[in-house]
Structures are given as C-alpha cells and as structure tokens.
Symmetry: C2
Subunit: 671 residues, 2 copies
C-alpha cells in the first residue's frame, strides 16, 4: 500500500482544544455523574465493560437480526455470570447492562417483568416469583401491546376467562388483532410473560388485568401447548434495536392457575367472584415516576453521546479556508455549526439535571404515598408524562442533527450515530406515544386553570399557574441585551408564555359547546401549551441546580453559560409563541438572539471539555468520529478493511453478473 | 394455529374511504404523472418491474451489506438485459431503474459518469468513451470526494502530475486524507472512474480537474497495479443505501494517457503546456439544473411514498373511542394526526409542481446558453441550490414524521418507512451539503439587494426583490379569515417576509466592517432569509400551476385546498418570521390557523384519493402498512413468519447461552 497512512492533525486538534478549556473537567465529571462515589462506581464498571472482549460491538451494524439476537444472548449470559462472580450490587449490575449498550431481552426481564410483579403482585406472589426471576431460573417479558392496540390499553382483546371448575384462567386470543405484538424478549428468549388480558368471570368482563403465563418449557424451551410465539421481524436501523427479539404471541385456550392473576388490586375467588382488594391504585404510581426518571436520564445519556461524537469530530474536521501553510478552518468554528451543536450540548446538561431532580421527586412521592397523601399525583403524572414526551422527541431529533453535522462520514455506521438513532428513536413511541402524552399534560393544565378560577392554586411544577393573572398581563421588561442573562428574567418569560398559551386554550374550551370536540379541534394549540409547560419545568430545575455549590474551577461559570444557551435557544426556536402572546417584542427577541450568539462564543473554547466531562469511553461511544484521541482518518480507513465485502478482492457478483454485462453475454446468461 | 387470522376491517376502511373521495382520481394521476402519455409509459414500466421476481425487495432489510451488493448487481444485470431485449428508450430504461428502487452502481454509471464525460469531455473524447459506457463495456463511477474533503472541492489532494517524457499523467494519493472516499459503485463494481485531481504540470498546480482512470482489469476485474480499492463499509439503515458499494481508492503513481484529462475546458499539450480551451465554463451549467430538477422530483417521489403509507395506514388504524358496536376511531380522524400528515401530502404536490417547472427552467437555460446569454445563471444557480436544500431537508424529516405517525408498527422494516428514510437521507448531504447551499442562496440575495439599490432589478425567481420598498412597508391587510384563501394574499405574505428578512441581513452586513465575518456571525439569519426566498419560489410555482387547466371533476378544487394547506402551514410553522418582521399581527396569524384547520376538513375525505393518485404500486411502496388493499394485519402477521429467526422454534442462542442461565450452569459454561 502506498504512502504514509497516519494523520497527526486529528490528535493535535483535540490536544489543542483540551489545552484551551477554561474549567476543571474532572470536577465537571463529578457533577455529571452525580457525586464522587457514583462516579467511581461508574468508572469502574464502564472500564470493566470496555475491556471485556465479549462486549465488543464494532461489527454489530453489519450483522443480521438472527446473529444479533444470538450474540445478545451471549452478552446477557456473560453479564449475568459477571454479576454472580463479582457479587455485584443491583446498581452495579444495572450499570453493566447500561454500558454494554445493547437492547436485549434482559432489559425487559429486569426492567419490566420484575417491576410488574413488584407493583401488581401480592406479597405472597412476590415471594413466589421474585426469587425465580432474580436468579433467572425463569426469563420474563412484558406482554401488553397487541397487533391492534397499543396506545389504547383498555381496548386489548386477549381474554382470560375464569373456569371455576378447574380453578384456572383460560388465556385465549380471540382474533388476529389480539395477537400480542412487540414485547421485547418475547420472540425468542422468554419462558414467562406478564400478559395483559381482559378478566372475564361469570360472563362479565372486568377489563384488562395482568397475569403471569409460562410460555416456553423450562426443559427444552419449546413453546407450551396452545402457545404460538415468534419474532416479529427486523426493525429500523442496522444493529440498534435488532439485538432485541420483539415477539408475537397467541394463546389457544391456554390454562394458567388462578393464582397467576396478579392480585394486588383485585382478586378472583375460587368461586369466580371478582373482588377489589381495597389497595389504593395510586400506590403503584411511584413505579411510573421511577421509570420516567430513567427515561429522562437515558435521554441525557444518548444526547450526550451523540453530541460528544459531533463535537469532537467538528473539532477534528476542517473544511475551507486556510492556505499559506495555515490549516483549514475547523468546522466547529462555523457559527452555523455552533448554533446547531451547542444547544444540544446544553440540553444534555439540562436533561441530566431535570432527571436528577426526578429522583428526588420520586422520593417525595414515595414518602407521601406512605401516608396516603395522593394530592400531588395529578401534577406529578402530568409533569413526568410531559418530560418524557419532550425530552425523548428532542433527543431523537438531535441525534440525527448530530449525524448531519458530521457531513458524509456521519452516514457511515462506524460513526456510531446511525445505530444510536436507531436504538433510541422507539422511545418516542413506547412508554406512551409522545403526542398522546402531551395531550394528557394539556388536560391537566386546563383543569388546573379552571381550579385557579375557583381559588385553588396548583402546586409543584404547576404552581406558577397560580400567578396567571400577573403572568398574562405583565410583559417582558428587557431593554438591554445583558438583562437577558438573568435566571429570573428567563424563567418569567417561560412561565408567562406557558401560562398565556394554557390560558388561551382554556378560553377556547370554555367557549365551546362540546368540550371534547373543542379539545380535538385545537389539539395543536393544546400540544403547544403542554410543551411550553414542560419547558418551564426544565428551565426551572436547571436554574434551581445553579443555586447549588459546584466543585472545581470554572464549572459553575460554564454551566451558567449553558443555562442561557439552553433557554435562549428555546426562546429563539419558539419565538412565535413568545411574540404572538404579546410577551416579547421583536426587539427583545433580537436582543435575546444577540446574547445567545455571545454565549456561543463562550462555549466555543470549552466545547471539547464539556463533552469530555461526560466521561464516555470509546467503547461506549462506539464511534470512530468521536474517538477520544481524535485519530479519526486512520481509523476510518482501517475499519473499512474490516468490511466483509472486502474479504475478496473481486466481488462475488462479478462472475455471475458483472462479467456478463461487461462481456456482452447477458443474452446467454441465466440470472 | 388457533382462530381466524383474517381481518376485513382494513380493506373495508379503505373501500369506504375511496367511496367518499370527491374528485376524479384517475384524472389526478395524469396531473401527477405530467400527462397522459407519460402516465401510460410509467404505468407500463412500473407494472413490468413489479411483476418481475428478480426485482423483489421484500427480504432486503434483513440482508447484510455483502449480500445486498451482490443482489443489486444481479438486478442491474437483469435490468440491462431488459433494456436490450425490449429495445427500450433511454427514458424507459431510466424508469426501470427508478421503479427497481434500489441504489446501486448503475445509478452512478448512468447518472454521474456518463454526464461528466458529456459535460467535460471534448467531442473526440465523447466519441471514444460514450459508446463504451452506453454498452456497459466499461462501468464508471464519479470519484470526487476524499476522506479529507467533500464540501471543499478545491481542497482535494489527489495529484495528477504530467510527465511529458511519457505523455502521461501520474495519478497519486499523497496522503491518507487524499484517499477517494464515498464514490458509489467504486467499492466493488466499477472498472473506470472520473477522478478529480489537481492538475500539475511543469511544477505548477492548476487546481482540480477531471480525469478518466481505469481502476480494474477488464479481463478479471482485479485492481490495476498501483490501485488500492475497496468498500468503505456499512451505512445507515437496513437495506437502504447498503445495496451500494461506496468505495475508497488510492493511487500509487498510476499512469494514464494524457488524453484521459477531460479537455473541454482546458488541455495540456504534449509539451506540458496548460491551455484553456476558451469554451465558456458556463455552458456546463445546464447539467446542474437538470440534476437538481431530478433531485426535486425525487423529493416529491419519496415524500409521496411516505405519505401514501402513513395516510392509508392512518385510515386503517383505529385507536380509542367506539364501543356499543361501533368501531374505534380511525387515527386519521384525530386533528393532531391530520395537522402533521396533510401538510406532507400537500408538500408532495408542491414539490412535484416546482420540479415540473424546473424542467422548463432547464429548457430556458439551454436556449440562452445556445446564444451565449449567461445573464440568468446566478439567479438560476441560487434558485436551484436553494430548492435542493429545502426540499431534501423537508423530505427527509417528513419521512421520519410519517413513520412516527404509524406508531409502533412504523418501526418495523416491513412498514417500508425505515428503508425509505435510510435511502433518502443522504441526499441532504450529497450534491451539496444543505447548510452550505443555503448560504450560497443568501449571498445571492444580498448581492441582488445591493444591486436593487443601484437600480438594477433582479429577474426570474428573485424579481420580487425589486419591490422591496413596497414589500418592506406595506403590511398584511387580512381582516377576515376567508381573505387568506387568496393566491395573491398568500404570495405577497411570503414575498414580504422573504424580502424583509433579506433586507435585514443586508443591513447588518452593510454596517459591518468585515463582510465575511459579519456573514459568519449572522449565518442563522442568512439561512432563514434563504429559506424564506425558496419558499416564495415554491408557493409561486404552485400558484402559477393553479392557473392552468386540469382534467377531471374536482381535481382543481382539491389542489386549491392543498395549495392553502401547503402555504398556510408554512406560515404557521415560520410564524416568528412573519410576526417579527411586522408583516403579520397575532390576530392575522390566528385567522390563518383557523383557515388551515378548515382546509384540513376539506382534505380529510379526499386524503386516500390524493395518495392513490400518486399511482404507486405495492411493489414500489414496499410497505405492508401502505398496501393498496388495506389488508394490513394479516400481512404483518404473515411477514413475521418469514423472519429467519423463526426458522427454528428454539433459538440458536438457547443451548449455549440461555440454558446455562436458566439452569444455573454459567460458572461451568464457556461463553
Ligand atoms: C421497539 C419497541 C419496543 C416495544 N416493546 C414493548 C414491550 O416490551 N411490551 C409491550 O407491551 N409493548 C411494547 N411496544 C409497543 C409500544 O408500547 C406501542 O407501540 C406504543 O404504545 C404505541 O402504540 P401503537 O403502536 O398502538 O400506536 P398507535 O396508538 O396506533 O399510534 C398511531 C398514531 O395514532 C395517533 N393516535 C393514537 N391515538 C390517538 C389519540 N387518542 N389522539 C391523537 N392521536 C392518536 C398516534 O399519535 C400515532 O401518530 C414496543 C414498541 C416498540 C416500537
Ligand atoms: C451516501 C453517499 C453517497 C455519496 N456518493 C458520492 C459519489 O458518488 N461521489 C463522490 O465524489 N462523493 C460522494 N459522496 C460524498 C458527498 O458528496 C459528501 O459527503 C458531501 O459533499 C458533503 O461533504 P463532507 O462529507 O465533506 O461534509 P463536510 O463539509 O465535512 O461537512 C461537515 C459539517 O461541516 C459543515 N460545514 C462545512 N463547510 C462549511 C462552511 N463553509 N460553512 C458552514 N458550515 C460548513 C457542514 O454543514 C457540516 O455540518 C457521497 C456521500 C454519501 C453520504
Ligand atoms: Ca448474514
């Protein structure tokens, strides 16, 4: 091979970048991880995973679904072996799965099957099933969605008819659309499932309940009699979510013991009588908050990975300019690149802090539930639904934006970004379709506002709506650009816009003869109001975080800059709402834009430091463009030669297809 | 298997939809195709392709890159055989490749290699190379981009040093970053390449020129001595663009005859003297217009496929509501679904009409070039660059939107949408990075405005800027909602916003000491102004199209509705610009939104008819969700069983990995 195939430019660029950083990156790593101790644990586990060859993922995007699922089972087995050998805590084990970075059946087993039993099983049931699940003597999944029903859970069709003569439920799939469809881990791995089915006893349909059903033999893994089960096929993107065996499941009069109804909320007696347990339904809501806190943390994690890749590569990549011995311009120096990249960087931190806050929210909810205080639940419900919706939508969109910011090379799987997107984007759909979630928020806002009218002020994240009169009338007072760099000014702007949008929606509904029809008709406005409300929460929690102490030189200063990048960028992107509600004038908007550009200038020298602070290993990033050392080009080149197509010098298609074309022998050749 | 696995609901829904359509779908098909004759040709070819088993693409998303490239070579050979056997016209042959719907080496051969020779070769060179290429005695690709340079073509590093002693150029890759990287068809298929390299003669570098280089043997397809060539690896998404062998290429002092320099613009004499031919560079610009017209037509085509899938499925899919024997609500009846779906539907038509106009623009440019009239070129250049940028960006984004609108099932490859996105999205990057293209438009706008100051009015698509004084001062006069439903009112609004944004940019630059620095600083504003200008063009051409006659009952009426959906939706989404420039008041904006919602109601009964009018075959759509017959669920179910993972009842990973987990034998097992 000809010539020198090294290239010092990339590593030099990142070294230079790192020398310019103005804050203490090690201290920021602690901020990001959420404490010194947590950082130490994470560092240990991520290094362990990165150094273990079984967890290698380099060739993943080139593998087919079947191979991917098989390898993912191998990784799961290896991980489980590690948990046991190293006697890991639950937290450590979770971190291993996290850093392995591969969707797989075990996620559903640990993340949905076990929590469902904990949440909906009686103590007796938990005693029976949890040890089996925790030792993985059984593998479970979460079988709710059907071919015909996802969002509308109450419309599920699978039936569980109680047969008192045998003391059994008979699970049955009465139609094609009742086929369970999508559950992860169901396709090929699970032995058991939490199955959602209509409980029918004595001819009466009591609606959807959760049951535990065994679906495969514990001896030879064959489906049990009456059970039809398989994988639903290949999904979006290479690698990505195709390591998962999302499955389908049909029951043909499959019998399960009566005790397999998860009975915390309701039981059926031997005689077939349906009895509510009296256990307050709301006690299960803590789990929801916890799941959604995880989702927000995942959002900040995926976002931080994407922006690490795009930021480092933008510092390595040079295009145009230069000459006279000077190198070309780093594309990170283009303002257009900055204006797309830096808000994503800021959002990673914003989402991290709101996720952190959600864990305290969880503690608060749990403490209240202990004393049967359910008052905050509607607010918590709306807040977490909304945050799930807007954080996942923004993250998905921004991963793609990061890929586009990498130009052509971002389109190669070796950039890591295509897989990141493919694996992430379904979170906009599962755990609640993002559109539908926003409508739930809107309904809560409308209801809250109607109560404000009656003198009852909302609490928690919606408390600001109590000030709607002031917020709706006092406009922004900014006269000079620098006034924008004030937490209170920014927060007020977000509150005023959200309150005004919600207020306008409420007004429209008030005037309407048919509330539901009006809600439908103005659903776009409802969605906007809900989104504005959720942005208030994130801005508020970020501002609150900024009141705390930060370790290390310069960390607080640069986080402050990121706060204003985050918030002023949102104001710019949603300017129509700030303007049309009359809160901002065009001049004030222009001043905000000026400040935003000024903030970009402050971020610029710190950009690489800010992504370094996420502490992602090269293994976890899985990206040549995002390598810590910046040695991009030689490694892109090297990786190309690992492409299986290059195993033969002459393509397999040459003899049968290309040669006949080139030699004008197509007429004779059989294709 | 248990139960009845049919489901009449889907087919019934679409039948019902079709019975409600208010316009003549067959006539609209003619409008879409661009004439009766063209429609007949298209129908014949698309049916031919759809019925040919070699062109089947059902299993494509599950195949690996190597297999995909091989099958794609098979399809290319089969297609070429068809061209010959059926004695097809060039247009018919192009349509075959189009409906085969699979990126492959032949696209570059026909679409880039041959046009490059036509555009840059002398008549003598064309006489030599074109027959070889047209018979496919050679297979060519277009090797411009390098590892280190894409957007900045002038920065390419590959060298072509003239050696007068041998009358040859010596092609050489002097650095790692000079490696050719990305050219489609290069990786495994091509025997020849148009190579862009720095022409160096007598020690002087004359910049980047195009050369024809043979890279593989015509006897055994082995790379020629000194040539290193291979595939760059797997790319975003399953199937999609992975049927293409994007390649890398390095030269180690490879000699090619002097005559292989494409010499239309410049030659090198035997003695090594560089001589410009005197042939005006501008004469090549027609090709650019033609390529970009194709890109816009592709945009409308991809968009129309995505929206066909999402629209039909939204009519089949039901979620919530119903009860008392009534079926649930079709999700297409949710206003939030409509407000995302219908603008995409309208955009498909808008892009189609602007693409149609671009072919007339091409004729106009060619006619002018004949008489050395280059005056319109800057305007044409800006207009086509801008349209490429905004149409491809919108299309990519909207394909994903269509997928999300299909809920969970959209994430399955069998929905067709993941592959559509994967194959489409690189068009935002190639043929000019969309961000950079918008800046070119902005530069043109600024320049035009400065000339308006000097009394010289821009022409063509920029002519409205001549009225900037009026446009900048007269605000919108709409007082009642219905006034929005007026072509002139809408067009004026777009022109005023674009003129004001451009004007504001020009003002900022005028005040700045350093023009380039200011352009950089305000690049976001520049981009916005450019985008606004391009939207003027699309709205204008759509309005112009509406002045023509349309065949069939109701076609014109519904197209008129689509015009207002397209334009009022844009006003809503870019409201900040209409408000902040003072052109619209919040009240006028609210009226526009009301009208938009009213238009959605008019679209609703015609939605399925409007996508039927695209005339896509089920083969071309490649989507179970988008099937013409609406028989979605049974076919999703059937397709799942074709997943290779389901070939064995028990997963391959069971024995080695799952069983040891379940049986607690991990300690003993070797993973
Ligand atoms: C990768 C992946 C993994 C999954 N894993 C699991 C799992 O482990 N277990 C499990 O049980 N399920 C799982 N699911 C299923 C998932 O929970 C559902 O796909 C999700 O709930 C969305 O429901 P849907 O697909 O029915 O969407 P639909 O509700 O059919 O949505 C289609 C469209 O209709 C719109 N729409 C629907 N209702 C309304 C309304 N009332 N108002 C306005 N618009 C509306 C939606 O916004 C959307 O645009 C998974 C899905 C995916 C993609
Ligand atoms: C699927 C695919 C097929 C291709 N096929 C071919 C082919 O057949 N033949 C061929 O020769 N090439 C091909 N290419 C290469 C393609 O033409 C380039 O990728 C494209 O020109 C973009 O250039 P780049 O990758 O260098 O991006 P870059 O220029 O490196 O872009 C990176 C980032 O920098 C930004 N940026 C760069 N310059 C500026 C600036 N001046 N101002 C502001 N921002 C800037 C960009 O906006 C982008 O965000 C293909 C690429 C792909 C993805
Ligand atoms: Ca394979």
């Amino acid at each position: 091979m000809a010539g020198d195939l090294t290239d010092p430019m990339g590593p030099n660029a990142l070294r230079e970048e790192r020398s310019k950083v103005e804050f203490d990156v090690e201290a920021m790593k602690v901020v990001w991880a959420g404490g010194v101790e947590e950082k130490n644990i994470q560092d240990r586990i991520k290094t362990l995973v990165a150094n273990d060859p079984v967890f290698d993922k380099k060739s993943r995007p080139g593998l087919d679904h079947k191979t991917l699922v098989k390898l993912s089972m191998k990784k799961a087995a290896h991980a489980f072996k590690l948990f046991q050998e190293q006697n890991m805590t639950e937290h450590e084990a979770t971190l291993v799965r996290y850093y392995v970075d591969e969707p797989g059946f075990a996620d559903l087993h640990w993340g949905m099957f076990i929590p469902a039993i904990k949440g909906q099983g009686t103590e007796e049931q938990q005693k029976k099933w949890l040890p089996l699940a925790q030792k993985m003597s059984i593998i479970g999944c979460y079988a709710q969605t059907e071919l015909g029903h996802g969002s509308n859970v109450q419309g599920l069709e699978t039936e569980a008819v109680f047969d008192p003569s045998a003391d059994e439920f008979v699970l049955h799939s009465p139609s094609l659309t009742s086929t369970k469809w999508w559950p992860g881990g169901l396709g090929k791995a699970s032995t058991h499932a939490v199955v959602y089915a209509r409980l029918i006893t004595d001819g009466k349909d009591y609606g959807v309940h959760a049951f535990i059903a065994q679906i495969r033999s514990l001896e030879d893994h064959h489906p049990l009699p009456g059970v039809t089960v398989g994988d639903i096929g290949v999904k979006f993107s290479n690698g990505g979510y195709n390591t998962m065996d999302n499955g389908l499941l049909r029951f043909d009069h499959v019998r399960i013991p009566r005790e397999n109804l998860l009975m915390r909320l309701a039981t059926v007696t031997k005689e077939g009588k349906y009895v509510k347990s009296g256990y307050p339904k709301q006690l299960g809501y803590g789990a929801m908050v916890s799941v959604r806190a995880h989702i927000i943390n995942d959002a900040s994690d995926f976002l931080s990975r994407a922006v690490t890749i795009a930021t480092r590569y933008s510092a390595v990549r040079r295009q145009f300019g230069g000459g006279d011995g000077k190198p070309e311009i780093q594309v990170i120096d283009y303002k257009s690149q900055q204006s797309r990249l830096f808000p994503i960087l800021a959002s990673s931190y914003a989402f991290r802090f709101v996720g952190e806050w959600m864990t305290t929210l969880y503690d608060d909810v749990m403490a209240r539930l202990q004393v049967n205080d359910f008052t905050t639940l509607p607010e918590v419900h709306a807040c977490t639904a909304g945050l799930k919706s807007i954080c996942t939508s923004y993250t998905a969109k921004s991963i793609e934006e990061c890929r586009i910011l990498c130009g052509g090379h971002g389109y190669l799987c070796s950039s890591g970004l295509p897989e990141l997107y493919g694996a992430y984007v379904p979170s906009c759909t599962y755990e609640g379709d993002n559109t539908i979630l926003l409508f739930q928020v809107a309904r809560y806002l409308i209801k809250s506002l109607s109560q404000v009218g009656g003198g009852k002020n909302p609490t928690g994240t919606a408390a600001y709506l109590g000030n709607i009169r002031r917020l709706a009338t006092e406009n922004c007072r900014v006269k000079q650009g620098a006034e924008w760099l004030n937490y209170q000014t920014v927060l007020e702007a977000f509150q005023a816009r959200a309150a005004r949008l919600s207020g306008a929606c409420a007004l429209k509904l008030n005037k309407a003869p048919d509330l539901e029809a009006a809600f439908e008709e103005y659903s776009t406005d409802m969605g906007e109001a809900a989104q504005a409300h959720c942005q208030v929460i994130i801005v508020d929690k970020f501002a609150e975080k900024m009141k705390s102490e930060f370790p290390g030189k310069g960390t607080k200063d640069i986080l402050e800059v990121l706060f204003f990048v985050y918030s002023l960028d949102l104001i710019t992107r949603h300017a129509a709402e700030f303007l049309s509600t009359g809160y901002l004038t065009s001049e004030q908007l222009a001043l905000a834009k000026d400040q935003l550009r000024a903030c970009f200038r402050k971020v610029r020298p710190n950009a690489v430091g800010l992504v370094d602070a996420f502490g992602h290993t090269d293994h976890y990033l899985g990206s040549i463009l995002g390598r810590y050392d910046g040695d991009v080009y030689p490694n892109l080149y090297k990786a190309a030669w690992e492409e299986p197509l290059n195993d033969t010098v002459v393509a397999e298609g040459y003899e049968p297809y290309l040669r006949p074309i080139l030699k004008h022998q197509l007429r004779q050749s059989k294709l």
